[in-house]
């Protein structure tokens, strides 16, 4: 055996998904994305997620540099704009926990609270990292399931 037991892998995937939903890392919007994936658009979820991380990494970099500026140059408005985008995208892929942290971050920004913002950014970077790792893991298992399905063994009677 090559260790590509499709049933085992599917169980792993379901367990991981259950964990992610239970922890509130993902919400039902992610399920909606999965429902939109079909033979016409077989990689839809991973495509959307890749676009998301491409964008979110840029947003995080920008937020970091905006917040490390000198106080006189610090623009909470710009931070707010970035966060609105971050909230929107996170919401669209079902990244609930990341989204909620952004909302708290935005509240700190609305209050011109630089310390609060910095703290939020740390938490956000951390959660974002977790999300990325978990989704990467999810897609890896998915790939393995596809591989397992593609492997044919001759049945000897």
């Amino acid at each position: 055996m090559l260790g590509l037991d499709a049933d085992q892998l599917r169980a792993d995937m379901n367990r991981l998904l259950a964990f992610l939903f239970h922890q509130g890392i993902l919400d039902e919007q992610f399920l909606q994305l999965q429902q939109l994936q079909d033979e016409n658009s077989p990689n839809f979820v991973s495509e959307v997620v890749n676009i998301y991380f491409h964008e979110s990494e840029k947003l995080l970099r920008n937020l970091r540099s905006l917040l490390t500026m000198d106080r006189e140059l610090l623009s909470f408005d710009k931070i707010g704009i970035h966060l609105n985008q971050f909230i929107g995208s996170s919401s669209s892929i079902g990244a609930q926990r990341v989204r909620n942290i952004c909302v708290a971050f935005r509240a700190a920004s609305d209050n011109n609270n630089r310390t609060g913002c910095l703290r939020s950014l740390e938490v956000l970077e951390h959660e974002h990292c977790i999300l990325k790792n978990k989704l990467h893991e999810l897609f890896q298992i998915e790939q393995q399931i596809l591989l397992a399905a593609a492997v044919r063994y001759p049945v000897l009677n």
């Binding site: 919007q29 909606q32 994305l33 429902q35 939109l36 079909d38 016409n40 658009s41 839809f44 495509e47 959307v48 676009i51 998301y52 964008e55 985008q85 909230i87 929107g88 995208s89 919401s91 669209s92 892929i93 079902g94």
Partner: protein
């Protein structure tokens, strides 16, 4: 579950977020609509033929807008707030245009602000959808597109299901041009069980599978 009639409908989706564009495109295609996505209100107007210049829009695969709109758009679905155009901007421009004002416009927004919702509906939007938009939300779109088809094609429609806009807060002035639907067909399990209940007191006619109010 694509119905053959749906592929006749062409939706223009407007959103500055690339993720939301991708998702709404998939939602619409899954619902068997033809889709064009653009990332700004001005590109949307260009596509609709409101501008003179022939800007090349990378999101429109096979359309070259000249002076007239060559592709019929049956519905515009747009994000509420986009940079480059004021909040109601696109909606207003469409409703102010003699050639475009009959195109139904649906607004999407990530924020549930009642005053925003009622203002959009007052300005002529047909529906207001909260993001993230779900497949079930798209059922609300069909009746609006059917209505415009009926206007232009005078009753050759065979609608299969009509949803009800039951989450609206305000109603714009009722459209008076509806005609009798032919061939009531499948049920919509979201619909409350009313067959011929058409109340003249309602400001907006209730659409069901059998009759609509004139």
């Amino acid at each position: 579950m694509g119905m053959a009639a749906d592929s006749e409908f062409h939706v223009l989706a407007v959103d500055d977020s690339i993720i939301d564009r991708k998702v709404i495109e998939r939602l619409l295609k899954t619902s068997s609509y033809q889709v064009t996505t653009v990332d700004s209100g001005s590109k949307a107007l260009e596509f609709l033929g409101l501008r003179e210049d022939d800007g090349i829009n990378p999101n429109t695969p096979s359309v070259s807008p000249n002076n007239h709109r060559e592709v019929e758009v049956n519905l515009v679905i747009t994000d509420y707030c986009m940079p480059g155009m004021t909040d109601y901007g696109l909606l207003k421009k469409i409703k102010e245009s003699s050639s475009l004002k009959n195109i139904p416009v649906v607004i999407m927004s990530s924020e549930n602000v009642p005053s925003r919702i009622s203002r959009c509906l007052e300005e002529g939007a047909e529906e207001f959808l909260l993001k993230p938009v779900k497949l079930s939300d798209l059922k609300k779109l069909r009746p609006h597109m059917l209505r415009t088809k009926i206007k232009s094609h005078n009753g050759k429609q065979e609608p299969e299901e009509l949803g009800m806009p039951d989450e609206k807060i305000g109603f714009p002035s009722p459209k008076q041009e509806e005609q009798q639907q032919q061939q009531p067909q499948s049920k919509n399990n979201k619909r409350k069980a009313m067959e011929e209940d058409v109340s003249p007191e309602r400001t907006r006619p209730r659409l069901n599978g059998i009759t609509t109010m004139v």
